[in-house]
Amino acid sequence: MKGPELLKHYEDNWVTDMGAWFPGERVVLRGKDVFTELNNHTWMEYLVYAVTGRESPKIARLMEALWSITTSYPDPRLWNNRIAALAGTARSTGVLAIAAATSVSEAQIYGLKPIKGATDLLYRMYAKKSAGHSIDRLIQEELKQYRSVYGYGRPIIKADERVEPLMQFARSIDAADGRYITLAFEIEDYLKNSRLKYQINIAAVAGGLVADQGLTANEFYHLATLCFSAGMFPCYLDAKESEGCFFPLRTERINYIGSNSINKWGGNNGDL
């Protein structure tokens, strides 16, 4: 079936095993009754079940630690948090602030792309290393093709202060010595001593830890979508108190590097 036939098949017809609301009666998620079978789950356990279909208090605990220890920095200078702060100082709503800041968290140099990318990297590297390739060669190939290695290196500062606290937590729940997290640090050993001098960042550590729990890169991406949110609320609340005063910019803070000519629309251009 394709084209209009396919669309006709789906018209008013969504068949699913994910879940549904039976109005006035009950709710089902992935085959379980929410009120009677999932009612004692923590919110994070519920989220893990919703995303993966797995019931795992250990993954939920690990995810919670990842969220609170490593991604909920209440600093409004960080670019995603800054959206929340700007929304606050511009007197927008709290939900718009967090929704916009969350969407901005899907960034290239931090946030969701490295989180997904580093996990994917470890799965690919592990498979190729198991097939006999050296880390040296694999990383060289990755750099040649993509000019970066997700999970290694960091903007603003080289070392990542979150690595040790997270590893400490991982050790406390006996989740710190699996094959993927071991590989993550092996890759760091290589990159640290290369001309790039890259150190591991939290994305590779988190990716290694969750891969060792059997989460795919995609599952981790979804579970991490809201991971920055707890850091955003303080930024919004704080900036909301001072209307228009969050990092105001005077006109001279615009560094114009364009042409210095003064133009007339529809007329001749003149000089500044």
């Binding site: 718009l96 995609n218 615009i254 114009y256 529809g266």
Partner: protein, 274 residues
């Protein structure tokens, strides 16, 4: 005490001079050297100003006509479109109006008829140009990245409608108008080769395909075209959201009988737990 140099916002687009009594307010704003409020206002059309913002130089007459035509074609995808449906879903629940636009942007950003499709299609244009053999090779063996991305994989030939039958009349009308207005080679080539391309893609040309070709002919980069396309489709999302907000949720489809749950544990569990 050492004086620290202020960090600045570096831009080629915008220059401001301060008011005498307030360094935080501009007395004049220049876009690409044009005094926006002292000169452009009253002379420039919205489409010309959009062009100036993106390109930093005025458009030619043909460029204005093409962008104007595309903007009209895209302004309202209609209430069945996914992005407009998203905006109306915000409207019917009485959500904030900004959330209606955010919903339309998020849904209208995707690879099926959205901004990401424009980005990818223009990359195809950059590689294939007006060479039908290059298009054949590209559509038959689309590039795939080994590395995972946040974007779901492209599942159809970009610029074509995987769920279409034949090329819809509005798409043909827009292409015919833009191709006849064009002084370039992309749109006339697409007009001449549409059916051959549709056979290669095994699906009809979509409005996104016409938009991508137009923006490529107008020399917008894939990044510029992606964001401009998303912007140009927002007016329809806005007005449909406002309209549904007034009409209300009970006159908006809920698909009450449309969902079938295949693994429903049934109400039995509840009774057992009582």
């Amino acid at each position: 005490m050492s004086e620290k140099k202020n960090e600045t916002i570096t831009t080629k687009i915008w220059r401001e001079t301060p008011e005498d009594d307030n360094p935080f307010a501009a007395s004049a704003c220049y876009c690409a050297g044009y005094d926006v409020y002292g000169d452009l206002l009253g002379k420039i059309s919205l489409v010309e100003y959009l062009w100036l913002l993106f390109k930093l130089e005025p458009p030619t007459k043909t460029e204005t006509l093409l962008l104007e035509g595309l903007a009209v074609a895209l302004a309202n995808p209609g209430p069945r479109d996914h992005s407009v449906h998203a905006a109306m879903s915000a409207g019917v629940g009485g959500s904030t109006r900004a959330s209606a636009l955010m919903a339309a942007i998020a849904v209208g950003a995707g690879s099926l008829g959205g901004g990401r499709e424009i980005y990818t299609t223009i990359q195809y244009w950059q590689q294939c140009g007006t060479d039908i053999d290059a298009w054949r090779a590209m559509l038959q063996n689309p590039p795939r990245e080994e590395r995972a991305d946040v974007w779901p994989d492209m599942e159809h030939s970009p610029g074509f409608d995987p769920n279409g039958a034949s090329c819809p009349t509005p798409v043909k009308q827009v292409l015919a108008y833009l191709a006849s207005t064009s002084t370039g080679d992309v749109l006339p080539w697409l007009q001449d080769n549409r059916q051959a391309l549709e056979i290669l893609a095994d699906s009809p040309l979509a409005m996104s395909g016409v938009a991508a070709a137009t923006l490529h002919e107008l020399k917008f980069s894939p990044e510029q075209a992606e964001i401009l396309f998303i912007m140009l489709r927002l007016p329809g999302a806005a007005v449909h959201a406002l309209e549904q907000e007034k009409i209300g949720w009970n006159r908006f489809p809920f698909f009450s009988d449309g969902l079938t749950l295949t693994n429903d544990p049934g109400p039995v569990n509840r009774k057992e737990s009582n």
